[in-house]
């Protein structure tokens, strides 16, 4: 499955430390990862394991202290919306822009003409299920809709890579499952490379081609779990139940360690 020629994102020995009031904290320590074009790669792990930091680095928002990241063999030196499109956890929509104007945002920054970007955004609203809400403001939309607008804003850039930082983290369980199914549909049609951060085992197992489990501070890669099951996945199938137990075992260990650490620093 991992053919070097199809490698799209290469993370090489990156480390990052943050300075906090209680001393330096190692967010990532010597992390290396290779992501192939077309993959749906999920990062999972306890809070503070550096998942978001790693995602921020791939998106050019966080600079590594050591190591480097290559996309298409070119090093990442800052945000590059022509190669990488981000989706944030809290949607991050502009409240003074309508749905269609929010979706247009990235194209506007790239200097795409008004007519052209309106056309692209309007065409995107259909599969997003937002056609009827083109002229609504974010405050008039539900949480799930807002997140779809945020995904639309990223898709409008038409990049090879989509970075998603817990995009459904703030949604209720049912909406979350439906949004996952919807995202899967979009991903299978566009064949983008997705790097997805989540806390949810269900999401990781239902969506990913590969699950990367990370350890708590310092953030390292603990294990990588390839998933070759066809979509849509039957979550109660014996294979998935076994995989789920295995994945939970790994994450449980790390989460317990993270909790223990928090208790120690607190006392």
């Amino acid at each position: 499955m991992t053919v070097p020629s199809s490698t799209l994102i290469l993370v090489e020995d990156v480390s990052k430390r943050y300075l906090t009031s209680s001393g330096p904290v190692s967010a990532l320590d010597d992390v290396s990862l290779r992501v192939d074009a077309g993959e749906f790669c999920t990062l999972i792990g306890p809070s503070g394991c550096g998942k978001s930091t790693l995602l921020g680095m791939i998106g050019g928002l966080v600079t590594p202290d050591r190591g480097r990241i290559l996309i298409d063999d070119r090093p990442v030196s800052g945000p590059d919306p022509r190669r990488v499109a981000p989706v944030f956890q809290d949607a991050g929509l502009f409240p003074w822009r309508t749905t269609v104007e929010n979706v247009e945002f990235g194209l506007e920054l790239q200097g795409v003409s008004r007519e052209r970007r309106r056309q692209v955004a309007t065409e995107l609203l259909g599969p997003l299920g937002l056609s009827a809400f083109a002229a609504k403001y974010p405050r008039e939309l539900s949480g799930g809709m807002r997140q779809r607008v945020a995904i639309g804003r990223a898709l409008a850039l038409d990049t090879k890579i989509l970075l998603m930082d817990e995009p459904f983290g703030a949604l209720d369980e049912q909406t979350r499952v439906l949004m996952g199914e919807w995202l899967l549909d979009i991903w299978r049609r566009t064949r983008k490379t997705v790097i997805f951060v989540t806390h949810s085992l269900h999401e990781a197992l239902a969506l990913s081609t590969r699950v990367v489990v990370m350890t708590a501070r310092p953030g390292r890669i603990k294990s990588i779990l390839p998933l070759s099951l066809p979509y849509p996945r039957e979550m109660e199938s014996p294979e998935l139940v076994t995989l789920r137990a295995k994945l939970w075992g790994e994450i449980r260990e790390e989460s317990l360690r993270a909790m223990g650490e928090q208790a120690r620093t607190a006392s």
Binding site: P86, F88, W96, L109, Y137
Partner: protein, 248 residues
Amino acid sequence: MRVLAARVVIVVALLVVWELAARAWNPLLAVPPSVVPPALIDLLMLRSYPDLPRHLLVTVREIAVAYVLAVAAGLGCGFALGLYRTLGRVYAPILAALYAVPAVVWYPSLMLFFGLDSASKIAFGFLLGFFPITLAVLAGIRQVSGGLLTVARAFGAGPVTTFRLVMVPSMLFTLVGGLRAGLALTVIGVIVGEVLGSKAGVGALINHAYGLLRTTDYVALVLVTLALVVTSDALASVVERRARRWAE
């Protein structure tokens, strides 16, 4: 409808009580309402103060100059202190402390520096208008969500684009509110300055009428000043509503 009726009743009742009390006590000092309309007509027909237009023009010009300066300096200082952290940390507390001082205490020194003419009124109007605008910019910058700034950066926005597409719309409500408050205070500053000592302007006329105990003319002049203030605020509120509609 009911509220309106209640308001009318209260105003009429007050006027009647005032009229009766003024006549019974001292019509010169208390100015019964019934003598005001004729005085106002005299004033507007340029019979009592023939050079009223010239004085009005002086006041309006002082307000305009003071406000333009206050807006320019307020926006400049606000953004400088808000966007450059070190600068803000050093000077913002000083600014807040200065704002707490009742501005009138500066007026005598302004008259010494700028003389009795327009310059000292412009300086005082500027001083009053400058603070709310600066503070509104500072408050507005604090309102800009860090998350939205990150979104803009991730989508490739540079500092100028971020300022235009994220910061200004985020802070627009606060900013426009501050600009409106600044205008109201500039108007007050200029008129107070004129009343405290001047040779021209509506405030000078008010002082003149009051000094000569021409109390009905005085009330008529106050009403004209009131009209000036209300008009300027109405203009500001139109602009504010426009901005709000744009921001939404």
